[in-house]
Symmetry: C2
C-alpha cells in the first residue's frame, strides 16, 4: 500500500481537498463522517461500477454509521442526457436529501459530470463528492468543477460550474481498467506537461512504465496532474481566460469524436485528445509558432505508450472537411464567431490564440485528410 | 411619464443595475446595445405576453440594431418543468447563442425563473436580462438570482442561483394586470416593511392608494422594495443565513398553495404569502414573541387593499392538518429534519427561528382549521 497524497484546491469558500491513494473506497465512510458529520449520502454510479465497487463503498459508509442510498444509471455516454439528469434529481428528492447532504459520484467522467450537475441544481445546490474510478476522471474531469450533460447540438453544452467538497481518487480502482482506458486517461496527464510543465513531460518520458505499473509512481503522477489542473482552475475558475489552456488538443479532439459519432469502439475521448494534441503541435508549427522537434517528441512518446497520433489510425475515417469544420464551429469555445485555439510555442509552452482564421484551419485539415488517402 | 430610478445590486463581479420606470420596453434596445455591444438576444416569453409586449420589445431591439430571436412557451406554472427547460435550452443552442450573448426573460415569475435557469445551464452560463412584467416579479422574483423549475416533489426544488446582468422593470406593463394580480404582488412589497423596515410599512399604510394608481408613488415603492431585497441578497447571496428572512410568510404560504393544488382560481402565490404572513404574526404571538397589535395592524392593511388574511377566505378549503404538515415538512427550508420558520418580534422585526417544534406548528394550525368550521 502506498501513502495517500493530498492536493488542496484553493477556491476561497469553495476550496476542497483531493486525496489520492490506495484503499480509499474502504476508508471513505470514515473520511466522510469525520469531515461532514451527520450528512446523508446518495451514491450515484452506473451498472458496471455497481458490480465492481459499490458494495465496498456502501459497506464503508455503513461501518462509519453514514446513511446512504444508491442510484444506478446506465453505463456510458447515454447517461449524460436530460432524461438521466431528471431521473437522478428525482431520486435525490425522493430520498429526501437536503442542501447539507451529499451526492457521491462513483465512476468515470460520465458519472462525475452527471452527478455534479444533478447536485448543482437539486435544491439550488447540495453537497457533492467525487470518487473517480477511471484515470481520465482522476486527472481531469473530477477536478475543477465542470459538470454537465450533452445536447444533440454537441457535448457538454448544458451544465454548471460546480465544485465538489471532496475528491477521493482510489488508485486501486484503476486496476480494473482496460489498457485502452488507462492509455486514454494518460493522454490527459501528458497534456499538463505540454501546457506549462516541460519537466513533467520529461519525467513522464522517463517514468511512464512505472506509472502504468501502479504504486508510488502512479500516485505521484496523478497528484502532479491534479495539482497542475488545480492551480489553473484556482486562477480562473469560470474559464474567463487562462483555464482555456486546459483545452489543448480538445477542439480538434472534440471534432474527431463528433466525426466518429462518439463511437467508443472507434475512438475514445483520450485518444481524440492525443491526436488533437498532435494536430495542435503540427498546426502551431505550420503557423510558424514552434519548431517541428516538439511535435516529433510528442508523437514519439504517445506512440511509445500505445496512443494513436494521426487521423489515419481512426478506424472508419473521420468524414470530409465540411463535417470537421462544422464540428469545430459548434465547439463551445467559439466567441462571437471567431475561432479560438490553444496552440504552442513548444513543449510546456501553450498559449490561447484568438482570431484564428477558419481558412487556415481548413487548409491544414485538408492536407491532413489528404495524408490519410495517400 | 415618470423618472426612471436605478437600484444597484452589489455582488462583486456579479453586480448589476435594476432600472424602474416608464417606457423601458421601448428603450430596451438602446439600453442593451449601449451596455452589451455586439451581443445577440433571445427573448423568452409566454403566449399571453407575446401578444401584449413582444412586438414592442422586438421593434426596440431592431431599431437599435440588436439581432434577436423569440422563444414562446405556454403561459402559467406548467412551464416551470423539465420539459420546458429542455425546450428553451435547445432553442438557445439552435439559435447559436454563445456565452457572451443574452436571454431576456419577458414576463412574470414563471418566465423569469425558467429563463434564468435556462441561461444558467446553457454553455454552463450565458448572459441573462430580466424584464419583469408583473408586480410580483418586479419586487421579488426578478431580484436576487433565484431561478428554477418545479418537481412533482414540490415547487422550485430544482434550480440555480444565477444573477441577471440587468433588470428593466417597466411599470407600464403593470397596467395590463388584473386587480387581483396587482394585489398579489403588493403582498410581497408589504413583506419588506414587515421584515426590517417599519417606516416603509407605515408609508404603505398611508400611500397604498397612490401606489395602486400608478406613477411616481408606484416607482418609488417598487424601487424601495427592490433596494430592500438587494441589500439582503448582497449580504447573503446563497441563503446561508439572513436571506432566509425573505421567506417571511412563505413556509405557510407554500403549504397553502400546495394544499389548494396550485389552482390559481383558488389561491395565487401572493395571496398565499398574505395569509402566510398573517399566520407568521399570529404564530409569533402565540409563542410569546410579539404582541397581538402587530397582527391586527397587518390584517387591517391587507384587508384595506383587498388581500385575503385568513384560511376561511380560501375557496374550497385547505384540507386537513396531515396534508398541511406534510407540505410544511417538504418545504426546502427544512434542515436536517428540524423546522425553520421566519417569525417576528413586531412590525419590521423579523427573525430566523430554527428548531421550531413540529408539535407547536401542528396545534396552532389545528386551531386555525377549527376557526374555519366554527
Amino acid at each position: 500500500m502506498t501513502d495517500t497524497r493530498t492536493v488542496a484546491v484553493t477556491l476561497g469558500e469553495r476550496s476542497y481537498d483531493i486525496l489520492i491513494g490506495s484503499q480509499l473506497l474502504e476508508q471513505a465512510g470514515e473520511e466522510i463522517s469525520r469531515r461532514f458529520p451527520g450528512s446523508k449520502i446518495a451514491i450515484v454510479t452506473d451498472t458496471n461500477l455497481a458490480d465492481l465497487h459499490l458494495p465496498t463503498l456502501e459497506q464503508s459508509l455503513a461501518r462509519a454509521g453514514v446513511t446512504s442510498t444508491s442510484i444506478i444509471v446506465a453505463a456510458g455516454e447515454v447517461s449524460k442526457s436530460f432524461v438521466s439528469l431528471q431521473t437522478v434529481v428525482d431520486q435525490l428528492l425522493t430520498a429526501k436529501l437536503e442542501r447539507g447532504d451529499f451526492c457521491i459520484a462513483l465512476g468515470g467522467g460520465v458519472i462525475g459530470d452527471l452527478t455534479g450537475f444533478a447536485a448543482a441544481i437539486t435544491r439550488r445546490g447540495m453537497g457533492f463528492i467525487q470518487m473517480p474510478t477511471s484515470l481520465l476522471a482522476q486527472v481531469d474531469s473530477s477536478v475543477g468543477g465542470k459538470t454537465g450533460i450533452n445536447s444533440h447540438h454537441g457535448k457538454n453544452l448544458v451544465g454548471a460550474f460546480y465544485q465538489p467538497s471532496l475528491v477521493l481518487a482510489d488508485i486501486d480502482t484503476l486496476d480494473t481498467l482496460s489498457q485502452r482506458e488507462f492509455c486514454a486517461g494518460y493522454a490527459e496527464m501528458v497534456k499538463y506537461g505540454l501546457i506549462n510543465q516541460p519537466d513533467f513531460f520529461e519525467w513522464l518520458e522517463g517514468n511512464w512504465k512505472q506509472v502504468f505499473a501502479g504504486g508510488a509512481a502512479r500516485v505521484q503522477a496523478i497528484a502532479r496532474a491534479c495539482r497542475s489542473k488545480a492551480q489553473v482552475v484556482a486562477r480562473d475558475e469560470r474559464e474567463a481566460g487562462e483555464r482555456a489552456l486546459l483545452n489543448l488538443g480538445h477542439t480538434f479532439g472534440h471534432a474527431l469524436e463528433a466525426a466518429t459519432g462518439y463511437d467508443n469502439t472507434r475512438l475514445v475521448h483520450g485518444e481524440g485528445v492525443a491526436i488533437g494534441m498532435v494536430l495542435a503541435y503540427e498546426f502551431s508549427h505550420r503557423l510558424g509558432l514552434c519548431n517541428d522537434n516538439s511535435a516529433t517528441r510528442l508523437v514519439a512518446h504517445l506512440q511509445a505508450v500505445g496512443l494513436p497520433t494521426s487521423l489515419a489510425q481512426i478506424p472508419g475515417g473521420v468524414g470530409d472537411i465540411e463535417g470537421l469544420m462544422h464540428h469545430i464551429a459548434q465547439d463551445k469555445k467559439v466567441n462571437r464567431g471567431t475561432l479560438t485555439f490553444i496552440l504552442v510555442h513548444g513543449l510546456g509552452q501553450a498559449l490561447i490564440a484568438r482570431d484564428i482564421a477558419a481558412g487556415d484551419v481548413r487548409s491544414f485539415l485538408i492536407d491532413k485528410l489528404g495524408q490519410i488517402k495517400s
